[in-house]
Symmetry: C2
Subunit: 285 residues, 2 copies
Amino acid sequence: MLLDAPTVDQSLHAAGYRRVDPQEAHLRVDDLGATRGDGVFETVGVFAGRPVQLQPHIRRLQHSAGILDLPDIRAEVWQEAILAAIDAAGGGDLSVKAVLTRGVEGTGSATGWVLAFPAPDSQRARREGLDVVTLSRGYASDIAQTSPWLLQGAKTTSYAVHMAALREARRRGAEDVIFTSTDSFVLEGPTSTVVLRAGNELITPATDQGILACTTQELLFQFAADRGIAAVARPVPVQELRSADLVWLCSSVRLCAPVRAIDGRSLPLDTELAQDFLTYAHREG
Amino acid sequence: MLLDAPTVDQSLHAAGYRRVDPQEAHLRVDDLGATRGDGVFETVGVFAGRPVQLQPHIRRLQHSAGILDLPDIRAEVWQEAILAAIDAAGGGDLSVKAVLTRGVEGTGSATGWVLAFPAPDSQRARREGLDVVTLSRGYASDIAQTSPWLLQGAKTTSYAVHMAALREARRRGAEDVIFTSTDSFVLEGPTSTVVLRAGNELITPATDQGILACTTQELLFQFAADRGIAAVARPVPVQELRSADLVWLCSSVRLCAPVRAIDGRSLPLDTELAQDFLTYAHREG
């Protein structure tokens, strides 16, 4: 779906979006999304045709747009376009990408699109767990407060570093990454949020450390609350990661995948939560 | 110009590039350049129809591609496409952008294009100088050695932070930025290289500090050598920036623009070098 009116400064005609063939070209080569990675995005998980945490995703898209000084989004157009994309894809298990860029250079008019595609199979990751390496993100944990122009905490399309970190993980024989700060706090994965269990408590790094609020982790904490499990967001020193009972990486399509090894050191593997949460997310998301 | 064979793994038919209308769409919405800022680029300055430092630009594009684990580029196709773009634009003073992305997700086939457009007028910047603010880049100066996955030293299309830094400069009433490291070294501008003059020496920050090698600064140092002016690349502590006799920001299209104020503190302004170098670059570049 291409959005004709992704932001409130663009006048709305008809639905504000239209269906196009994704195999054809729809972006100009001077779109700042393509030349400068100057945009924001969301990836929405869809299970049996139902998007999980759709409203939190749209709110986070608006939040990211705000950090980049992009115009306010037309939330209702994005919502309808996402639902239409799911419909057009015939439902089922999907990954839906929603992208807003600063648009063609010089026009001041943002570009927006929504693309639904079949969700990659995450069964193996959820059942067998992930081999993970820790990599430095190069920033101190207070970076969002001291240097807001570094855009930490916004989900921008400038993701080359995130992709390079995943390639580095593969070079080291692993599958995923947990970024750490220069002052030795746990941050996040390149495309996921870290949750650990210590005793009877779930813990996730607080989002004031220049990391993304996670729509899936929000849902996981709601799931935990329903089961009387305590759950907190607070700074997590790296040594806590090493002493945790269990660790998960949470994201919108893979949901919560257990970590079976960090930097080559094995962790206890509990796939039960991953499976229970999968059922919960299908029902409550 | 769209490149049909931007990298050596793609088979070459005919010239390997073709002319298209830049007002039309040529990129798919699932190109990793658009969704992940997963690409590299160069901006070549063209004066009176002649590209300045074309070979160094093409070598740097290859260098950046290597850091991102992209396939090797077809240097000759890029060169011909850039020359053809200049020709198609009718020569004159141009800015030519050459972009290589990882291509449409799942295809493993890179996307490349070259776009020439009229150079923005840089006369005012060269004559009157620039108001500049220093902003932290958030990284230590040894980041390229300790954390290569952060891609510092590659000219990637993940430039959202660079654009945000320029917006922050404007918020502070300035026009440009000099990034500094967390260990208090001068790094580079978001789209330029810093050169300072202390006594009879030109100094630029060494490129092993996670910053880009600058094709324009290379030419400036050649210009200095022709005039018997010493020129060195070495780490530059921030206090040297504050005590420098003169400071310039060098880039491919604006060339060397003098800095007239840093963080609100005025600097001596020598526009003579900027103008002399302009003449030199037109002739020797």
